[in-house]
């Protein structure tokens, strides 16, 4: 056992990378749930984003165009969910599951021609002077652009929900859609926009895996990260700040677990792997005893004549 082999700076830097796809997908789902919609299809939208991003960046040679395509792909799939739940008034749980099933199959179909290819590289940010600082240089100034985008998006979402009128309206829709409707807000329109945002974010998160973190395309490569993102939203009690903390904690657990193993510490891997979910349940219980942090209309179907 040699714990000194673990470098804190590198550990933090890697956990930031591991946390980024989670953060991106979860921030989208957070907005969706704040609008009162539960979309369980995150995994399906992520994997769709992963293949759209990969395929387009291979074809165009530009990772940035690929990322845009990933966001569009994720949003397109979420539009299906929006149609089902907002117009056809279908059950959200079932629609979300269908989305995941469909997304996994669909991405595998498109991806058949892209196995074994290498995508164009994104490159890291490098600021002369800053990136060479001890510890902070690597942790704060040595990442790829998407990672910073994820952080900025989290901050922007926090500002949007907390300080803007549009954010207030979105929260009102999520809290009580009947009251919001009575006040004259367009419940359905707002929710569709939120769902599309969620899809785009999930798509980006997926593309981050296939373009930056891994980078390659293989069927089913998101391997359950979308489901962890769902847990993360709950863990964060629907707050962007908590989301950031949670993403680093969830991502950090995986990275730390692998680092401990490499350092020769015998750890019960399975029990460590289940801990994020157990922690989430504990947080849920804690939240529900304090009441009303959960969006009031979460998962309920809205129709104007109700």
């Amino acid at each position: 056992m040699d714990l000194t082999a673990i470098s804190p700076a590198l550990l933090v830097a890697s956990l930031m990378v591991a946390a980024t796809p989670l953060l991106l997908a979860a921030i989208g789902e957070l907005v969706v749930e704040r609008a009162g919609v539960l979309n369980l299809g995150v995994e399906g939208m992520m994997i769709t984003g992963a293949i759209c991003g990969f395929a387009i960046s291979v074809e165009t040679g530009s990772p940035y165009i690929g990322l845009i395509a990933a966001a569009l792909g994720g949003a397109a799939l979420s539009l299906l969910f929006a149609l089902l739940t907002q117009f056809a008034l279908a059950n959200q749980v079932a629609s979300g599951l269908a989305l995941t099933l469909f997304g996994l199959g669909f991405s595998a179909l498109i991806g058949q021609g892209y196995v074994g290819l290498k995508p164009p590289s994104m490159g890291r940010l490098s600021i002369p002077g800053l990136s060479d600082l001890p510890f902070f240089g690597r942790v704060l100034f040595g990442h790829d652009p998407v990672l910073y985008f994820g952080l900025a998006l989290t901050l922007a979402t926090w500002i949007f929900l907390r300080f803007t009128r549009a954010g207030l309206v979105l929260r009102a829709v999520g809290e009580n859609h009947d009251a919001a409707h009575a006040l004259g807000y367009k419940v359905v329109r707002i929710r569709i926009l939120a769902i599309l945002f969620g899809g785009a974010c999930a798509g980006l998160g997926g593309a981050y895996i296939s373009l930056v973190r891994v980078p390659q395309w293989t069927e089913g490569m998101t391997a359950g990260i979308g489901w962890i993102a769902l847990a993360l939203v709950v863990f964060a009690s629907w707050k962007p700040g908590g989301l950031l903390l949670g993403a680093y904690l969830f991502g950090g657990l995986t990275v730390l677990q692998l680092n401990l193993q490499a350092a020769g510490v015998a750890i019960p891997v399975e029990y460590l792997a289940m801990s994020p979910y157990l922690i989430t349940i504990v947080v849920l219980v804690f939240l529900s005893s304090r009441r009303s942090l959960t969006p009031g209309s979460l998962g309920r179907i809205f129709h104007a004549s109700n």
Partner: protein, 359 residues
């Protein structure tokens, strides 16, 4: 009730007879049951390459069929039965978890030949086959031990099962031979395939000083992580992964099932098929060693190739004594060679490896 049952069975027997009878006259039909998608770029991908080689070799004389992503359980049994019913003459079941199902289905179709990969149960119409990947690991260990400058070699294992433990031991023994200071850091990923996790594992190992990464998981994620880190070398696993050559990938272990699949199909066509237990390595080409790139010094490359020749010729066995187990107890005496039984059930590390095998 008994009567209807017998009639039902008679009907099915007739149908089976009809099916096999019909195909005997024309094409030989070969079925493949895959545990993953053919696009996994690793395990299943290589089995599918074997299938394509069979088609290439025999052309119109054979017809191949496959079903991918078949879960290990009743679904596998149904897929095998379905292939047998539809006239398959030979069925390859390509995952350890298909073992009992293969035996069950084979008992119902005595005229159909079955080939089960990596298992240990056989029958009159069931053969088993597997590859001695540890032979390739010995060559990897030799190169790795020579190449490492930090003397730390990272190893990404999937599950703590004999197959993987064998590979770790073999690589370690040969790395240690050329570099007594070498140390192995082992991460169990608890998955055969999870690119994101494999990438994280590779990064963790690199960050802890490893400058060689060996992997027993199937994706190229560790290769990409090594490339990004620079100055780290890797070896292709299952597939050649040559898109990462010459650096970081300096060589590879390739699962090459094609010669075996072609030979077994030929045996069925010729009517010479018999139930056998095949555990082949470098000598028959089942374990392929991918091109050793110029990133490896010439004399190391020459030694590695010499070891490959010696193993292929049967002159050298990677597990040759004197060897001790991790706890210091004797395993193999001077010159003694490990028997296949011990290797198949290997559940211990050799002396010098640190860490425990998780239970």
């Amino acid at each position: 009730m008994k009567l209807t049952r017998r009639m039902l069975m008679a009907a099915s027997a007739a149908a089976i007879g009809l099916a096999t009878g019909a195909t005997a006259q024309d094409k030989t039909k070969v079925g493949f049951v895959y545990v993953g998608p053919v696009g996994d770029g690793g395990w299943t991908y290589e089995h599918d390459q074997g299938r394509l080689a069979v088609e290439e070799e025999f052309g119109d004389a054979v017809e191949t069929v496959y079903v991918e992503s078949v879960p290990e359980g009743p679904d596998a049994e149904r897929v095998m039965t379905q292939m047998a019913l539809q006239g398959a003459d030979l069925i390859f079941t390509t995952s350890f978890g298909y073992m009992d199902q293969t035996i069950n289905v084979a008992a119902k179709f005595p005229d159909v030949k079955f080939e089960h990969a990596t298992g240990y149960k056989r029958a009159d119409n069931v053969s088993t086959y597997s590859a001695r990947f540890y032979e390739g690991r010995a060559i990897q260990g030799h190169i790795a031990g020579n190449m490492t400058e930090s003397n730390i070699i990272g190893y990404i294992g999937s599950y703590p099962i004999p197959e993987v433990i064998r590979g770790i031991n073999s690589a370690y023994i040969h790395a240690k031979k050329v570099n007594p200071d070498v140390e192995f850091k082992i991460i169990w990923a608890y998955t055969w395939f999870d690119p994101a996790k494999e990438a994280d594992a590779a990064k963790a190992l690199i960050e802890q000083g490893a400058d060689v990464i060996l992997q027993h998981t199937d994706s190229t994620a560790p290769q990409a992580a090594a490339q990004e880190a620079g100055n780290v070398i890797t070896f292709g696993q299952a597939s050649d992964m040559s898109e990462y050559a010459p650096m970081p990938r300096v060589s590879s272990i390739i699962d090459n099932w094609a010669p075996y699949y072609v030979a077994r199909t030929k045996a069925v066509i010729d009517g010479t098929w018999e139930s056998v237990d095949t555990w082949d390595g470098i000598s028959t080409g089942m374990v392929g060693i991918g091109e050793i790139t110029d990133a490896v010094p010439a004399e190391v490359k020459a030694e590695a190739l010499a070891m490959k020749e010696a193993i292929a010729a049967g002159e050298y066995h990677p597990f040759t004594g004197p060897l001790k187990k991790q706890d210091g107890s004797d395993w193999l005496a001077e010159g003694e060679v490990a028997d296949d039984g011990t290797l198949l059930g290997m559940n211990f590390f050799v002396e010098g490896l640190t860490g425990e095998i998780p239970q």
